[in-house]
């Protein structure tokens, strides 16, 4: 097989890699936003419960959690489809990490602005949504990029639950062609290309939402 042919047969898997990465990243974002909103707006008890949840999620290997969800939950009568299992494991763990990034950024939002919002009659939720959240997200961009790439790099776990993403395709290919070196080089190139694509996309979005002088102090 020529290198071009190898790349071509791997591209089918690329779609799944992208799908897994995006779905897990989206899950992470939803989980992290829910955690940070509950932290900001909930009471002390909610905060402690979330601390515990985040602590646990960050402590479990993604693969173990994935197996718990995919192979364990059916024992309780809950059948989880492969993609959903990825979202509930990789997505949730990444969400826990992302919520910590958000927490740091939220602390960097000026107390004076929050006080001004409160003084003009905004509810805590309005203050969070209109003042704190937009600033928090912008301050979190570097951390979010890291987290997104890390999700991409964990996406090969998807093959263990039967999703035919790049790594899975590569394994199938090596077993029939024995051209391991070329094949895994091609895999590496595809992941690197994906990584570059993520950076480009983020740079584009960032430029679009850039605010002159924001976060430059």
């Amino acid at each position: 097989m020529s290198f071009a042919q190898i790349l071509q047969s791997l591209v089918a898997g690329l779609g799944y890699t992208v799908l897994v990465t995006l779905l897990c990243a989206a899950t992470a974002l939803v989980v992290a936003l829910a955690i940070i909103a509950a932290r900001r707006l909930g009471g002390k008890a909610a905060g402690n419960a979330l601390d515990a949840l985040v602590y646990v999620l960050r402590g479990i290997p993604v693969l173990v959690l994935l197996f718990m969800v995919f192979f364990g939950l059916p024992a309780l009568g809950l059948d989880i489809p492969p993609l959903a299992a990825m979202m509930l494991s990789l997505g949730a763990v990444s969400g826990a990490y992302l919520s910590e990034i958000f927490r740091g950024s939220l602390q960097a939002v000026s107390q004076a602005e929050i006080l001004a919002a409160q003084a003009s009659g905004f509810t805590p939720f309005q203050s969070f949504r209109l003042i704190e959240l937009p600033q928090m997200i912008r301050l979190s961009v570097p951390g979010m990029v890291n987290e997104l790439t890390s999700v991409m790099k964990y996406s090969p776990f998807a093959y263990t639950v039967g999703i035919p993403e790049i790594t899975k395709q590569a394994m199938a290919l090596t077993s029939t062609t024995m051209q391991s070196l070329q094949i895994y080089t091609a895999v590496g190139l595809l992941y690197f290309g994906l990584y570059r694509a993520i950076l480009l996309a983020v740079a584009y979005v960032e430029r679009h939402f850039a605010i002159p002088g924001f976060a430059e102090e």
Binding site: S110, A112, E113, L115, A116, A117, Q118, A119, S120, G121, F122, T123, Q126, L130, I131, P134, Q135, R138, I211, P212, G213, F214, E216
Partner: protein, 242 residues
Amino acid sequence: MALLEVRNLVKTFGTKTVLDGVTFDLEEGQTKVIMGPSGCGKSTLLRCLNRLEEPTSGSVRFDGKEMTAPTADVRALRQLIGFVFQNFALYRHLTVLDNVTLALRQLKKMPAALAEERALHELARMDMAEKRDAYPASLSGGQSQRVAIARALAMEPRVLFFDEPTSALDPVMAREVVTLINRLYLENVTILCVTHDLYLAQYISDSIIFLDQGKVRAEDKAENLLSGHADPVIASFFGRKS
């Protein structure tokens, strides 16, 4: 009936009494300046009046309604009080225009076009209309404070609270801001202003409340307080400053 009637207001933090029975009135259209040594409770007083801090005891009546009552609608009260801070506190992710329209759109539910019109009117009043699309980071301190005042005025508050509006500004910018606050004073905007700035105090006050150790030590016209007051504490406070 005065717009704002403060009676025996007490605020303690733990064992520390910061406000110790403050009593005064503010009439509609009147401007009062609060002065006093650093740490005497001026900021705490303003913050208790719109319940950013919970008063420990005493009464605050705003437009006849008791504002320390548990049933009082605190957020409705806050919308009637425009608050301008020493550090401007502009929302840094929003343009000048959006800073001014945000509360109009979100709290008053004003349609965007109407909110913009109101905002531009107030920005023009503060000579800041041409900066409508600028972000706070690009503004000087004086410009920021003018936007903050426009933001407060846009809500058509019954009273404006200022907490040291000029003390973060260099003298030239401070003068600019004093001139604009003086313009509001001449238009009979009701103002309660905490300041250390004698220049500001003289130019805008109908009377000055002198606060000392959480108590109103004197309330009088600026000219009576500023030179050779019989009370040695007051005399030395202003003696040191002028």
